[in-house]
């Protein structure tokens, strides 16, 4: 059975279960509070584990190059996305900018699922990857805003810079990931040991439950917002993760990350935000269509990354 396990580990099977249950309109729903609770739990657990790992000797080697790579990709990946959305799909400017921001940023659960797959396969990775994850959350937001402004008319609504800076620097995922990372670092090995039953032993099970809900949510949002998605957009929602992932893969190989690090960097670059970026775009680009970008990220690219992206990047990384 280990082969099936490595291709389709339990969390991914639960995603498929949720997605199938949703498609078949099964009478199944996860309380919204549970989904939010699990999302918070995953970010804290990832942050704590990463911080504790960084506290061990020699663990910072390669950190700066990886951070620079991640931040650079987050800044740059929205560009090709925007050009394609405007040029080929003729999407309205603000919506195109908002969508493109999602693809520079990252998805915590996609990262968690990939980390789970690597753990199952026994492939090691750099301990600082959660810091890279946190660092990639928000640069893309700035690019998206720039893209929305460039060439736009003078009737733009005023940008509330204060509110926006908050969204960029103080959105939930960044605060939770960096905060937990710092706490994990300060608490070191004794802290890690104390919290391990919560943050590590429960992690695979919590991930299963959350991916079940993500499967259900993908279909739900597809039903509610799917009419807004053209086939072109759906295609974009699958092609863009491939482009982003390839960029991440090549970049990570160039800076000499480990096999696991390469796979994770590709997964991060290929993933699309579904918490931090939508929240920022709603405030900064109110005329962009939230139904489109939320649906595209949650209901198209997320499933694609879970089912196709992760196995692909893990394989290409050489694991």
């Amino acid at each position: 059975m280990p082969e099936i396990l490595s291709l389709l580990p339990p969390p991914v099977m639960f995603f498929v279960l949720g997605f199938a249950a949703g498609l078949l309109r099964a009478d199944l729903s996860i309380p919204e509070a549970l989904a939010r609770a699990l999302s918070i739990y995953l970010m804290i657990a990832i942050g704590l584990k990463g911080g504790a790992a960084l506290a061990s000797p020699g663990a910072t080697e390669g950190l700066w190059a990886a951070l620079a790579l991640g931040i650079g990709l987050s800044f740059l990946l929205p560009l090709p996305a925007f050009l394609f959305l405007r040029g080929a799909l003729r999407i309205e400017r603000e919506t195109a900018a908002a969508i493109s921001g999602h693809y520079g940023s990252v998805s915590v659960v996609t990262y968690a699922a990939a980390a789970g797959t690597l753990a199952t396969l026994g492939v090691a990775q750099e301990g600082f990857m959660p810091a890279v994850l946190a660092a990639m959350e928000t640069p893309a937001i700035l690019t998206a805003l720039l893209l929305a402004r460039l060439g736009a008319g003078p009737d733009q609504p005023r940008l509330n810079a204060g509110k926006l800076a908050h969204e960029v620097l103080l959105n939930g995922p960044v605060v939770l990931l960096l905060g937990s990372f710092l706490i994990g670092f300060l608490a070191g090995a004794p802290g890690r040991q104390q919290l391990a039953p919560f943050t590590e032993a429960l992690f695979p099970g919590a991930l299963c439950l959350f991916l079940l809900e993500m499967g259900l949510m993908a279909v739900r949002q597809l039903r509610a917002g799917g009419r807004g998605l053209s086939w072109g957009l759906v295609g974009f929602g699958m092609a863009m993760p491939l482009l982003g992932g390839t960029a991440g893969l090549l970049g990570a190989q160039a800076i000499g990350l480990s096999t696991g690090g390469i796979a994770l960097m590709a997964v991060l670059s290929g993933s699309a935000s579904y918490i931090a970026v939508p929240a920022a775009m709603r405030l900064a680009l109110p005329r962009a269509d939230a139904g489109v970008y939320v649906t595209l990220s949650v209901a198209v690219s997320f499933p694609f990354n879970i089912l196709v992206g992760i196995p692909l990047w893990v394989k290409l990384a050489g694991a």
Binding site: E32, A35, R36, S39, P157, M217, R220, Q221, R223, A224, G225, R227, G228, Y274, I275, A276, V277, P278, A279, M281, R282, L283, P286, R287, D289, A290, G291, V294, V298
Partner: protein, 100 residues
């Protein structure tokens, strides 16, 4: 019994603060915010509960005097111009005039 207006506004949860700030500024004596499960309007179905919360709506209810209501209507047209929201007004009566 005293005559007042009951203003009911459906608006995005992330923008509720802007609306209540406006109500405060224009002299409303209070307001109440209720959660929304889902809704449909010109932008199609909106289903609350996505993880970013941007698809959540709320209902804001404000009992206000005729004068405050007029001011709110003028301003809300402007405030909400760019961003969709649903505003409806009903006549109502209240027990104690001094509260509203």
């Amino acid at each position: 019994m005293h005559h007042r207006k009951r203003i009911e506004i459906v608006v995005e949860r992330v923008r509720a603060d802007d609306v209540t700030d406006l109500l405060d500024r224009l002299g409303a004596t209070g307001w109440t915010i209720l959660p929304v499960l889902s809704g449909r309007g010109r932008r199609g179905v909106r289903l609350g509960g996505d993880l970013s919360g941007v698809l959540d709506n709320v209902v804001i209810v404000c009992i206000a005097s005729e004068a405050v209501t007029a001011r709110v209507l003028d301003a809300s047209d402007e405030l909400l111009g760019a961003r969709p929201a649903i505003v409806s007004i009903t006549d109502c009566t209240v027990l104690r005039a001094d509260h509203f």
